[in-house]
């Protein structure tokens, strides 16, 4: 070989080297560019939450690296089968699946699974098939399969390494994706469980709330009952207070009344014997008035003393009301307006107690209006239902309203107004309203009060009514003839009363006999009749402690002599026998204390009436 041809050969060799190096250089530059875009690819993978997104990003990146004619991703399913999840172009699906089947048959697929590098095998159509496992050290996620043209050329090694890198990244992304979806599934399950539990909790809470509501309702009920009970207790205490007070007061009052009777009778008798112009006569009159006032007080007290159940009778309240209004306000500066409906129901009541209550209320009203004015007394029929503000049982009631335009009652006093001995008046006993309260209560009614200071007060009494019933007119007993100035029998357990009454009547020209109890009175009456010197009238004390009272004695005397003129006397002006003396066969009544005139007049009336 000559030097020239050697040089030529050398030049050709060098030219060939240069071409090779240039081509290699180009390839490397391209490869570096692709690798430079790997960060973008990594970002794509990180952004992708869906597996499909990861598959597409992977194929796109691999497409930049190699001019794959066809490529696809097979995904390793839970059952270890590989399914073609993504391919590019989409039309190549069947071709790729055919290649995969062949690779599996040849064992190349299994080999590729174990080698974490590209495995290239010649394709039947002259190209080559590239397989690359997609796996991390923990998990085989899938397999990449791609078809390239030109199997005769070996594939650039750095490019293959780059391919491995890309698929390694994809493997991690897919594993993350699987873990992510597992986590999501787990979260979903957890959320379902949470919702389930929440629903259960809600149901439980609803139940608890319903229970709480029930509890609240029953609690409120309980509270109401407690208040009710407290009220009832207060009532009971009040009633007991009144009762014990009554017993105490009654004891005193009974004796006291008898003493007053003696005082009054003596005073009046003394005055009777004096000339009215006598200077002492005026004094005696004042003493009499004071004694009468004192007796009013004992009467109030005696109302308590009576205690117990009122003696009820069907009565028409209208005349009672009218009578009370006119009686109490007579002679005062207060005028009464009585407004009663014509059909005001009758009621079962103790007329005496009822009229005393009305008296007390009217006195109260009159006293509230020191400078005069009007007291309105109204009556009304009311049918109350079960849920009425007066806390009365369902039924028919009459309402009596006594309204004044006086000074009114302060709030703090309103609460205590029915307490015994509570009074705002300098001369008040504190028993008036307390007795009203206890009387109305005993009749199964209520007393209500509303008052405004400086405007006036209004008392409302509700009493159970008996609509449609009328009392039969009481037959007035016509007594037999009686000779004026005849014989009179006085029965009273107190000897000083017997003494003064005897003196008064003797003074008036009567022949008087006296005795201490009913039994004696009956005996005396019988013996007098037998001796043909009958008594023109008998004055019987209603109550004889430890002996026969006036009522029994009257019954026995009437048996002897149905025409006997009997007068009942009692300190208990409200006693039903006093109030309805006719029903017990009495011709008249006289309440203790009595003055000489009253006693004489009553006797004169009865005896004269006989004539």
């Amino acid at each position: 070989m000559n030097p020239v041809s050697r040089i030529m050969e050398r030049a050709a060799f060098l030219e060939e080297r240069v071409t090779y190096l240039e081509e290699a250089n180009r390839n490397y530059v391209t490869l570096l560019d692709v690798l430079a875009s790997t960060s973008e690819f990594q970002a794509d993978l990180n952004r992708e939450k869906s597996m499909e997104g990861i598959y597409r990003a992977t194929l796109a990146q691999l497409g930049r690296l190699f001019p794959f004619r066809e490529m696809g991703l097979l995904v390793n399913s839970a059952d270890n089968s590989f399914n073609l999840a993504e391919c590019e172009p989409p039309s190549c699906r069947d071709d790729l699946l055919e290649d995969v089947d062949k690779a599996i048959m040849d064992g190349i697929f299994a080999w590729a699974l174990n080698r974490s590098q590209a495995i290239t095998v010649p394709a039947p159509d002259g190209g080559c098939i590239l397989l690359h496992v997609i796996a991390t050290q923990n998990r085989i996620s899938g397999m990449f399969i791609g078809r390239l043209c030109g199997a005769e050329k070996i594939i650039d090694a750095p490019a293959l390494n780059a391919l491995s890198n890309i698929l390694h990244s994809s493997a991690y992304a897919m594993e993350s994706g699987i873990l992510y979806s597992m986590l999501r599934e787990h979260l979903h399950t957890l959320e379902e469980k949470v919702q389930e539990r929440t629903a259960e909790l809600k149901a439980a809470r609803d139940m608890a709330e319903a229970g709480a509501l029930e509890l609240k309702i029953s609690n409120e009920q309980l509270c109401r009952e407690i208040v009710e009970r407290k009220r009832a207790e207060d009532e009971l205490i009040k009633a007991q207070k009144l009762e014990s007070l009554g017993v105490f007061a009654g004891g005193i009052a009974h004796d006291f009344n008898n003493i007053l009777t003696s005082i009054l009778a003596n005073l009046s008798f003394a005055r009777m014997q004096l000339s009215p112009s006598h200077t002492i006569s005026k004094r005696l009159e004042e003493c009499e008035k004071a004694t009468v006032r004192a007796s009013e007080l004992t009467r109030q007290l005696l109302t308590f003393a009576r205690g117990g159940e009122p003696v009820k009778k069907l009565i028409d309240p209208a005349p009672l009301i009218r009578e009370a209004a006119s009686f109490v306000l007579r002679g005062s500066t207060v005028r009464s307006i009585v407004d009663l409906p014509a059909d005001l129901w009758c009621l079962e009541a103790d007329a005496g107690q009822l009229s005393q209550s009305l008296h007390n209320l009217l006195i109260n009203a009159a006293q509230a209006m020191a400078n005069g004015g009007e007291v309105t007394v109204r009556g009304a029929n009311e049918s109350l239902d079960a849920d009425n503000p007066h806390r009365l049982p369902l039924g028919d009631y009459i309402r009596i309203t006594i309204e004044d335009h006086g000074c009114g009652i302060s709030r703090e006093n309103l609460a205590r107004i029915f307490d015994p001995y509570f009074t705002t008046k300098s001369q008040g006993s504190g028993l008036g309203l307390a007795s009203v309260y206890s009387i109305v209560k005993r009749h199964g009614g209520t007393v209500g009060i509303s008052s405004t200071l400086g405007v006036g007060s209004s008392f409302d009494i509700h009493l159970p009514a008996s609509p449609g019933k009328r009392p039969e007119g009481a037959a007035v007993k016509v007594t037999a003839e009686l000779h004026a100035g005849g014989r009179i029998l006085i029965m009273d357990d107190e000897d000083f009363i017997r003494a003064i009454a005897t003196e008064i009547l003797q003074y008036k020209g009567y022949e008087v006999a006296s005795c201490a109890d009913g039994r004696e009175a009956v005996d005396l009456y019988r013996s007098a009749r037998q001796c043909n010197v009958p008594y023109a009238a008998v004055i019987l004390d209603l109550t004889i402690p430890g002996g026969m009272g006036g009522k029994e004695a009257a019954a026995l005397i009437l048996e002897l002599d149905p025409d006997a003129v009997l007068i009942v006397s009692s300190g208990y002006s409200n006693d039903t026998v006093i109030a309805n003396y006719q029903n017990y066969g009495f011709s008249g009544s006289i309440s203790k204390p009595f003055d000489a005139d009253t006693l004489a007049r009553e006797l004169e009336r009865l005896i004269a009436g006989k004539l």
Binding site: W111, Q117, V121, A157, A171
Partner: protein, 292 residues
């Protein structure tokens, strides 16, 4: 050449490399193979043609391809098929691994037992490769080759400075001292430095050369720390298990950072080693051929 202008100091790294570079060279066929593999227009046929020129290499490559190391399910009966199945760059690394054992001849046997030396090196290569497979690395053959080459620096020392190396070996054995420390103490560089430098001179890819140079200090690897970590751990495993012998009497310390970088669960190691064991003897036999 520039290196001839200034003569390196005696017993320096450069001096050592210069002295042995001309003696221990890779077979020319390796360079040819490298060129044909890297050539953009070459084909499998071109590769087959180059390798086929060396009957011994061809035979050993095929034996290796059919060995338990790969466990391919059917017979690989040609270099072309091996290139397809195993991959061209993998074949190149295998060619390096197969060639290198024949390069170092005439090493004084009183200093190093070549049989046990290569046993250790090959075991390290197989173990490193197994670690890489576990990690699903793409180029496990490169790691394999690096493992086999990791201690060639010692062979260079034996050949170039037998007296000094002999002293170091004795000192290491008697003092139970780490040989690499003694090397550095005495010479200022280690066998790892020598190996790395030699591979560089051989124009072996840096992905192999750097892990060799850094197999005792994997943190120092700037480009291929993962590969260096494979070799580092494999070396320690093989020394601990007493697979072969490279003159080191003490098991070198494990760099924690390398262990962490590998991120291989400790309980996976037993499994990996169980995988390695059946490959040891056959692979060693193939690579060592009929050599003593």
């Amino acid at each position: 050449m520039a290196t001839t202008d200034t003569t390196p100091r005696e017993n320096s790294l450069e001096w050592l490399i210069n002295k042995t570079e001309s003696v221990y060279t890779l077979p020319i066929i390796y360079d040819r193979l490298t060129e044909v593999i890297n050539h953009p227009r070459s084909s499998i046929e071109d590769i087959t043609e180059v390798i086929s020129k060396d009957q011994g290499l061809t035979a050993r490559l095929l034996k290796l391809a059919n060995s338990p190391l790969f466990g391919y399910f059917s017979k690989i009966d040609s270099i072309g098929k091996a290139a397809t199945i195993i991959g061209t760059q993998q074949l190149q690394a295998m060619a390096l691994a197969v060639s290198v054992t024949e390069v170092f001849t005439g090493i004084p046997e009183n200093l190093v037992n070549m049989k046990t030396f290569w046993q250790h090196s090959i075991a390290c290569g197989i173990t490193a490769r197994a670690l890489a497979i576990y990690r699903r690395e793409a180029n496990v053959e490169r790691v394999f080759a690096a493992g086999i080459l990791h201690d060639v620096g010692r062979l260079v020392m034996c050949a170039a400075i037998p007296d000094i190396f002999g002293e170091l070996l004795v000192a290491g054995r008697e003092e139970k001292a780490l040989l690499i420390s003694l090397e550095k103490e005495r010479l200022g560089f280690s066998h790892a430095d020598v190996g790395g430098r030699l591979l560089e001179k051989w124009r072996i890819p840096e992905s192999i050369a750097e892990p060799v140079a850094c197999h005792h200090s994997p943190d120092a690897a700037r480009k291929f720390p993962l590969e260096a970590a494979f070799i580092h751990l494999a070396d320690i495993i093989c020394k601990s298990l007493g697979l072969g012998f490279s003159g080191e009497w003490v098991v070198p310390p494990l760099e924690l950072s390398a262990w962490e970088r590998l991120d291989i669960p400790a309980n996976a190691l037993a499994e990996i080693i169980k995988h390695v064991e059946p490959q040891l003897s056959e692979t060693t036999a193939i690579l060592r051929g009929s050599a003593p």
